[in-house]
Structures are given as structure tokens and as C-alpha cells.
Amino acid sequence: MKAITGNRLSDGAVVYLGDNDLWTEQKSEAARFDDGDVAPVLHAAQLRVREITDAYIIDVSADGAPAGRAIIRETIRGAGPTVRGDLGLQAECCA
């Protein structure tokens, strides 16, 4: 499955396109798309230039976790640097 991600324009934070068409920092809230349906969604997302930058498609598993070739990159990108557990989203959740 696929999801759409990008960086929020104002501060660069990693965001995902959610079910309600809003951007969310929570990967688990990312809307999931079938491979064949995602291209037009990305195109529409890329037009929202005042909200985000560098939007692209990522592979996700059925439960929303990063998958595929870029799994390490997307895991780190979503959570924060592995060498600084006190920073990024990883520091906020599960404390």
C-alpha cells in the first residue's frame, strides 16, 4: 500500500496526508491508498504549496508502518534521529 508524505512548509516537520485530507504528524493516521490510486492524490497534494513541500509517495504496510526499500529511511524520518532519542516524534510518544 501507499501513503503520501512531505515536510510542512513553515517548519519542515514530517507530515502525512490523513484520511480527512489534513496533514498529520502521526504516521499511524496516514491515509493508505492502493498502488493504482495514489498518483492523482499525490498530484493534488503537490498543489497545496502553501502547506507543504517535497511531497512524495511512500510504501506502507497494511497497518501503516513504513515498508519496502526505503524502510530505514522512512522509519528514521518519521521517528527522529536514532542517535537522539530525546528528539523528534519518538520523544513525544510512549513516554
Binding site: 515536510n7 512548509l9 516537520a13 524502510i71 530505514i72 528514521i76 524520518r77 534521529p81 542517535v83
Partner: protein
């Protein structure tokens, strides 16, 4: 230190105001990201994995206490309480918000700092020997010429859109602490047989996917002709360098593809045509710049300090730090202090706002208000009285800035890697952390001696792995991190490129591999050989065997 004149101040001020407008227009949607990206890059602002990244220039690595305090302020107010010193003597912030960047740049401008020439296909911030003005082995202070180059290169209209980025390093010592043979242009100030000082001009060095050691295209260039000669080199590159292929756009490709003789001929012909024009600075202008770098008023001190000797004898930890982290100064009774940003298990080059303030305090009190950043991601207090070394050591120790490991196995260069960088294939920092933990024993480190480990998380080689005595390159294999070992590289005066020794290793095995290589070296070294000397004497094969056969 150099102080801005009215032109510098206006230039920087206008640039910040201009960028503030550009940010506003991006946020309003008036500028697309495509239009905005080159503009933000011209102001040192990148987009990385988690956030934006702002790279601030530290021209030739020289900072005052006031500037360091401002860097701490930026880390505290706008970022997450730390900064990261880079291999080009600059500092990066990993979390600035776009909306804050104009204010950050305004704050930096208050202390004569900026982010100009830290990105884009221009002549980048010039780098130098971190011991400049203090080193016992230098011919003269190379920063005078760095500043000349800075003024000439900043917003040089002809060289704003080069085929690719362009990096210049200057040293005035035979012992190369600025990696001049790995730069687009390396300049070494030296004396000729007649006793005159001039530049050896080295061109076409570089790392990345196609590494080269630079070629000397002129043994001796009289100093007064520096700018016209540089202009000739840049002009040839700007005209002849490839713009059709990103991977072949650096000057190293131009120099090496057509041959160094052909390149030299082109430069000399261009220089002959332009050298009589008014590019070279008049003598009085050079004198004006030189005056900013007049040596501080060193006190007339005895060469040795009784107070220091007493502490050296009574405190073993201090004695070790003295041996490893301090360097001979040109003025009697003074020493150069290296501040290690590589604590055991730490992140190479990272420094907190509190530590920055502490370093600023020490510089103000003990080092003529001067701080240097090094290309090996450490800091330096260049002018410390030997009488004060104990107090400085104690203060650094309290801030975890006194790890006695300069030039040793845990003094590792590592790029940010996949923990931060959007270009990286693998992480680099965790490998550096594991190696420094494995070799945490300080006595063992000192016994191993000089050993330069350099780690890059992708082929762009920001971690200089090609020139590590032991180099480590991260490669992604189907979503798994692997690490390739190279041996025999050097970025110093004996510059050489490392050789790949075999198949890639997992992250756990990479750390063990370093241990095997070090063990093999210790068993086979002769006399005072460093790791690199033993490697060069016996060659790669025995090391390869030690690495792979025993497994």
C-alpha cells in the same frame, strides 16, 4: 580578527532583508518551491529528513567569544539546544523553522556572521589551518589570504553560477591540517630558494564518487598575484567545466579528463591575458587586511611553566590530556589547546548551547578571545598560557570537552548520515559511537597512536572516508545497512586515497573489523610506526587477510 567594514555590514544586512522578503513570498504562495529552493540554498538553508537545516559560515574557522555566544543563543532560542560542527569548519543547526530563519540571520548579522557561501554552485566559504596564527610550524598567518579570498569571492558576479560548488583551502605549513590536496583549489604558502613567500597552487582534488588527489599546477606564485591567478583558474573552469552531467561537473573531472598539462596551459594562457588588469589587490589593501590579523600581544614568558610542571607530575589525567590534546605554540610560554567534540559514545561535532557558552567563557578569559573550528569537527583555543592550562583543563572536563583523544582512534570524522541527511544511504554516527565505545580505554588509545577513522553514509563522502587511515562507507543493500572498509587513505601532507579491502560488513561486524585491523597493526608495527605507516610498509594483503580470513 577581521572586523566588518561598512561594505561587509551593508552586504550582509541587505542579504538578510532580501531573504526575509523571499521567505514571505514563499509562505504566501507567491513563490513556488521550485523558485524558492535556489534562493534558500544561497542562504545556507537545506531541507533534510526531519526538518530544515541551516548551515552558518565560520570563515576559515575563526570565531570570537561573542560569535560563539550568539551561536549558543541561536541553538537555544530557535533550535533544539545544540549545533553540529562540520568538516568545512562551519556549524549546522538541524531543526530551524523556515519562519524563524530571517530572524536567525538577523541575529547572526549582529555579530558579523551569515550563511552566505555555505551552499550552491558558488565559491564556498574558504577553509584553513585551525592553528593559523599560533602554529610553530607556519610560514605566516594564512588567514590574511583567506580573508582576501573571502572578499574577492563573496557574490563574485562571474562565479555565482559555476558548473558545481567550489572549495578553496589555504595553509602556511608543511604539516597539512587543512586537507589542501582534497580541495578544488589548495594553496600552500611556502618560501622559495630566494627566501620569498608565495603559493603552491594545487588544483583538482576532491572526494565524492570520483576521488582525486589534487595536482600542483604552479610551484610558486608570488603572493601579490593570488587573485588574478585564482580568477584565471575559475574562469577556465567556468568555461570548460561540464554542465551536462552533475557527476562530472567538478573541476577535478576537468583537470583529470583532459590532463593536468592541458589544464595548466589553459590557466597560464588566461592568466597571461588578465594578470595586468586590476584584479590583484594593491599592496596597501593587503596591508589593511593584514593588520586585522596582527598577532595578539603575547606576554614575555619563560618557555616552561613551573605551575604546569607541578600539576603534570601530580595529576595523571591532566598529564595525558596535555600529551594528547595540546600542541606547541609559536610564542614561548603558550600552548594551543584542542577541545575534543568526540566524547566516548558521543556524536562527532555536536555541541550543546551550554558547552558553547563555556567555550566562549574560556576563550574570553584565557585565549585572547579566539576560538577555532577544525575540519576534523573539533574546536581549538589557539593562545593559552601554559600557566593557565590546568584551569582550562578543569573547566573543559566539567563540560565533557576534555576527552584526550585528538588524532587517536576515537577522534572520528562522521557525516550526519541517515540520522539527519536526505542524501544518505546509511547511518554513520552510530558506527562512530560504537567504535569510540569499543576503544574507550584511553591508555589503549594512546598506545595505538595516530589513527584516523572517517565514516560516510553515502558515496558523496562528506565523512571523508576515502582519506581515512581506516575509511568506512555505508551502502544500502535492499534496505539493509552495510559498511565497506577502505584502508590507507590520508588527508594530510602525505595525501593518499584508500583502497577498498573487500565485501561490505554489517554494522556490528564493521566495529569488530576495526578492532581486528588495529590488533593486526599492533602486532606488526615497527618502532614508532603509525597505523598508516605500517599499512604502507606491508601493504593491503596482510590486513585483508586479518580482516576476513579469521572470520
Amino acid at each position: 580578527m577581521y572586523r566588518y567594514d561598512e561594505f561587509d555590514a551593508r552586504l550582509v544586512g541587505e542579504r538578510v532583508a532580501q531573504f526575509r522578503g523571499q521567505v514571505e513570498r514563499r509562505l504566501s504562495g507567491e513563490l513556488s518551491e521550485e523558485q524558492f529552493k535556489p534562493l534558500r540554498l544561497m542562504n545556507g538553508l537545506y531541507l533534510q529528513l526531519h526538518a530544515y537545516m541551516l548551515r552558518v559560515a565560520v570563515p576559515y574557522g575563526t570565531l570570537s567569544s561573542l560569535q560563539m555566544r550568539k551561536l549558543a543563543h541561536v541553538a537555544r532560542k530557535y533550535d533544539k539546544g545544540y549545533g553540529h560542527f562540520t568538516t568545512r569548519q562551519n556549524i549546522q543547526y538541524n531543526w530551524p523553522a523556515l519562519v524563524d530563519v530571517p530572524d536567525i540571520l538577523d541575529d547572526l548579522a549582529d555579530v558579523e556572521m551569515h550563511a552566505i557561501q555555505t551552499s550552491g554552485n558558488c565559491i564556498r566559504n574558504v577553509t584553513s589551518d585551525q592553528f593559523a596564527g599560533a602554529a610553530a610550524d607556519e610560514v605566516e598567518d594564512p588567514r590574511i589570504w583567506c580573508e582576501v579570498i573571502r572578499q574577492w569571492s563573496t557574490f563574485h558576479p562571474e562565479f555565482t553560477f559555476l558548473p558545481r560548488k567550489f572549495k578553496i583551502a589555504v595553509t602556511a605549513s608543511q604539516n597539512d591540517r587543512a586537507a589542501i590536496r582534497l580541495h578544488d583549489i589548495g594553496l600552500r604558502i611556502h618560501k622559495n630558494d630566494a627566501g620569498e613567500t608565495g603559493f603552491e597552487v594545487i588544483v583538482g582534488g576532491g572526494l565524492g564518487r570520483t576521488p582525486y588527489i589534487g595536482h600542483t599546477i604552479r610551484e610558486f606564485l608570488p603572493k601579490k598575484h593570488l587573485l588574478s591567478y585564482l580568477e584565471a583558474v575559475l574562469r577556465v573552469y567556468n568555461l570548460e567545466g561540464r554542465r551536462d552531467n552533475l557527476y562530472k561537473a567538478r573541476i577535478k573531472i576537468l583537470v583529470n579528463a583532459g590532463g593536468v598539462e592541458k589544464f595548466t596551459d589553459l590557466v597560464e594562457a588566461e592568466w597571461a591575458a588578465i594578470r595586468k588588469s586590476e584584479i590583484d589587490l594593491p599592496g596597501e589593501e593587503i596591508d589593511r587586511i593584514r593588520a586585522y590579523f596582527s598577532p595578539p600581544d603575547f606576554e614575555d614568558l619563560p618557555a616552561e611553566s613551573a605551575a604546569l610542571e607541578q600539576k603534570r607530575t601530580s595529576d595523571g589525567a591532566f598529564a595525558r590530556w596535555l600529551r594528547v590534546n595540546t600542541v606547541v605554540h609559536k610564542a614561548p610560554g603558550y600552548a594551543i589547546v584542542n577541545i575534543s567534540l568526540k566524547p566516548v559514545g558521543g556524536i562527532p561535532g555536536d555541541i550543546s548551547d551550554v558547552q558553547m557558552e563555556a567555550v566562549a567563557d574560556l576563550a574570553a578569559q584565557y585565549s585572547q578571545d579566539e576560538i577555532r573550528a577544525t575540519h576534523e569537527q573539533n574546536l581549538v583555543l589557539p593562545h593559552v598560557k601554559k600557566d593557565d592550562l590546568y584551569a582550562v583543563w578543569q573547566a573543559l572536563t566539567a563540560q565533557e570537552l576534555a576527552t584526550p583523544n585528538i588524532r587517536l582512534v576515537s577522534d572520528i570524522i562522521a557525516c550526519p548520515g541517515l540520522d539527519y541527511c536526505t542524501l544518505a544511504n546509511t547511518r554513520s554516527i552510530p558506527i562512530a559511537q560504537r567504535i569510540s565505545e569499543r576503544f574507550a580505554d584511553l591508555e589503549q588509545q594512546e598506545d595505538i597512536g595516530e589513527l584516523k577513522i572517517k565514516i560516510s553514509g553515502c558515496i558523496n563522502a562528506c565523512g571523508h572516508h576515502h582519506v581515512g587511515h581506516i575509511g568506512i562507507l555505508g551502502v544500502d543493500k535492499k534496505g539493509e545497512e552495510f559498511y565497506q572498509i577502505t584502508l590507507g587513505g590520508s588527508g594530510a601532507e602525505d595525501a593518499s586515497l584508500g583502497e577498498i579491502v573487500g565485501r561490505g560488513l554489517s554494522s556490528g561486524d564493521a566495529v569488530g573489523a576495526v578492532e581486528k585491523l588495529v590488533d593486526y597493526y599492533r602486532e606488526n608495527r615497527q618502532d614508532n610506526e603509525r597505523f598508516i605507516d605500517t599499512y604502507r610498509r606491508i601493504g593491503a594483503d596482510p590486513f585483508k587477510e586479518a580482516l576476513y580470513a579469521a572470520a
